[in-house]
């Protein structure tokens, strides 16, 4: 009887546990996606079908070229579904877009056009929040967009460039908002802490360079001459394509492959080795400057080597911009403590990535400027970041 009773109790206990597990609402649902890209893709599908004018209005607000008016607010209110998906995606660490590398340069990447527009939506929303006095909400949007830039990633060169471009827009908005929120020390401290925890600038051109080397060296072979000729001809003209196919030979392509690999591997070293911007720029420029356009193999290589020094410049400028934001937060925290902007830049702040030195700090009538000490060697200009401080 005792044995029977204990057996019955055991069965009842087990049954109760099973009922409890089955009734649990958490275990009843399949998990949400663990790939952020799936959420972004749904966000793209949920973007409102806005006309060109509306998209331009949103882009202009995002770029800081226009102030948000009622029209833009109405346009953006139709994008709330897409923003919700982007918010959910920002919580997911992993993001795989599913690029079909096997297609080489024919791989389609329609998600990047949508990603660019979603960025405008998010940043325009941040500007609207700031205009309404919700500075924390605006900065949260900026941080979310920074995560989006990270998620866009470095699968290919174009993805990498788009992620840099998204970052530039994000930092521009942050720069604007922190100036407006200059009196709120608690908010600035919160942002400072948040910036420590976000992924940061760990994207690099090294991965896309490696992938391009694979694609191009595979393409520069006689077995793929048809495809290569199409790319080099860049036209539908069958005569040109046929001419290239007819005249190309294994030796020329072998030389082109060797030269291309040599130059691209040189660039991998330059991008992977810590060096001052100016020095790395000079190394990368040399890799392409001596390619003779009259030599068939060198001319073919010229058609495929990306503008390496410009990519380095964009990368370094993005780093400088991020550091300027962090340095500006310290300046504003100092102002919050003392009631006035410091006369000199506090020590130990993040550096200007173009020169490796401290930013040049200058107070202005409207706030202050953090000026790089190194030049953008492509544009021959010294970048500067202006912070307009709300009195």
């Amino acid at each position: 009887m005792k044995r029977l009773r204990s057996g019955t109790f055991a069965r009842m206990g087990l049954a109760s546990l099973m009922v409890a597990l089955l009734a649990s609402p958490v275990s009843a649902y399949p998990p949400d996606p663990d790939n952020a890209a799936l959420l972004y893709y749904q966000g793209f599908l949920a973007l409102a079908q806005l006309d060109e004018g509306a998209r331009d209005r949103i882009a202009n607000v995002a770029k800081g070229e226009a102030v948000p008016d009622d029209k833009v607010r109405a346009d953006l209110s139709n994008c709330s579904g897409a923003i919700d998906f982007a918010e959910a995606a920002a919580q997911v660490p992993t993001c795989h877009w599913g690029v079909r590398y096997s297609q080489g340069f024919d791989a389609l990447m329609p998600q990047l056009a949508q990603a660019r527009f979603l960025t405008y939506v998010l940043i325009a929303d941040a500007h609207i929040r700031a205009a309404d006095g919700d500075y924390k909400g605006a900065l949260e949007r900026c941080l979310m967009t920074d995560t989006f830039a990270h998620h866009i990633g470095d699968d290919t060169f174009i993805s990498y460039l788009v992620s840099l471009s998204v970052r530039k827009l994000t930092y521009g908005c942050m720069q604007d908002v922190i100036g407006q929120a200059a009196g709120d020390a608690e908010l600035l401290q919160w942002l400072k802490n948040e910036l420590v925890t976000i992924p940061g600038n760990d994207l690099s051109p090294v991965r896309p360079l490696k992938i391009e080397i694979e694609i191009v060296t595979d393409l520069m072979q006689m077995k793929n001459i048809g495809k290569l000729a199409m790319i080099l001809a860049n036209s539908d003209d069958e005569n040109i394509i046929a001419e290239i196919v007819k005249k190309a030979d294994a030796k020329t392509l072998e030389q082109a492959r060797r030269l291309y690999s040599e130059r691209m591997k040189g660039s991998l070293i330059a991008f992977s080795t810590p060096a001052v911007y100016e020095q790395a720029y000079s190394q990368l420029s040399k890799l392409t400057s001596d390619l003779d356009p009259n030599d068939p193999s060198a001319a073919a290589v010229r058609a495929f080597v990306p503008s390496l020094s410009r990519i380095l410049t964009l990368k370094t400028r993005a780093e400088a911009h991020a550091n300027a934001i962090k340095a500006a937060i310290e300046v504003l925290l100092s102002r919050a403590k003392t009631g006035r902007l410091p006369d000199a830049l506090p020590s130990g702040l993040p550096k200007d990535a173009l020169s490796g030195n401290d930013f040049e700090y200058q107070k202005t009538a409207e706030g202050f400027v953090l000026r790089c000490r190194g030049k953008d060697l492509d544009k021959d200009e010294i970048p500067q970041h202006e912070f307009k401080v709300k009195k």
Partner: protein, 148 residues
Amino acid sequence: MKPDENIEKFVKDAKPHVTTGRPMDKRTLDDSYAAMQETLRAKSAARKPGLPGMILGSRAVQLAAAAAVVIAAVSLFLGRGGHTPTGPTAEPRWAAESPAKMVSMMSLRAAYRQGGLDALDEQFRDTLNVLGPPPLGISSRELLENVN
């Protein structure tokens, strides 16, 4: 003399006096871009706007067409004296084949090579004008209307 014979004669006669390099590339690009813009403008004025018009008139395609001039130089060298594209009729393959080709890795690279991030941005803008975003106005009734 036919226009293509003119071009061939020009290349044959003038090539020894041309110094190739970045300034020459830039000058060629600027000239061809201006010429193509004019042609495309004339073309678009002459036809009703529609999908093909949007594709051909887009800055992305103009840039890619300009790229064709430079890359054709490569084909010239590879072919050692081959043909040059015969003007704006030689539209970029990806655009002629399908608007989806506007977002191929090659097409996006070409845009960036010609005009940097601004050109890339412009190409994305054109892509949205041509391809999407998709319509949201589909009711569940419409979705299910062919069921049963």
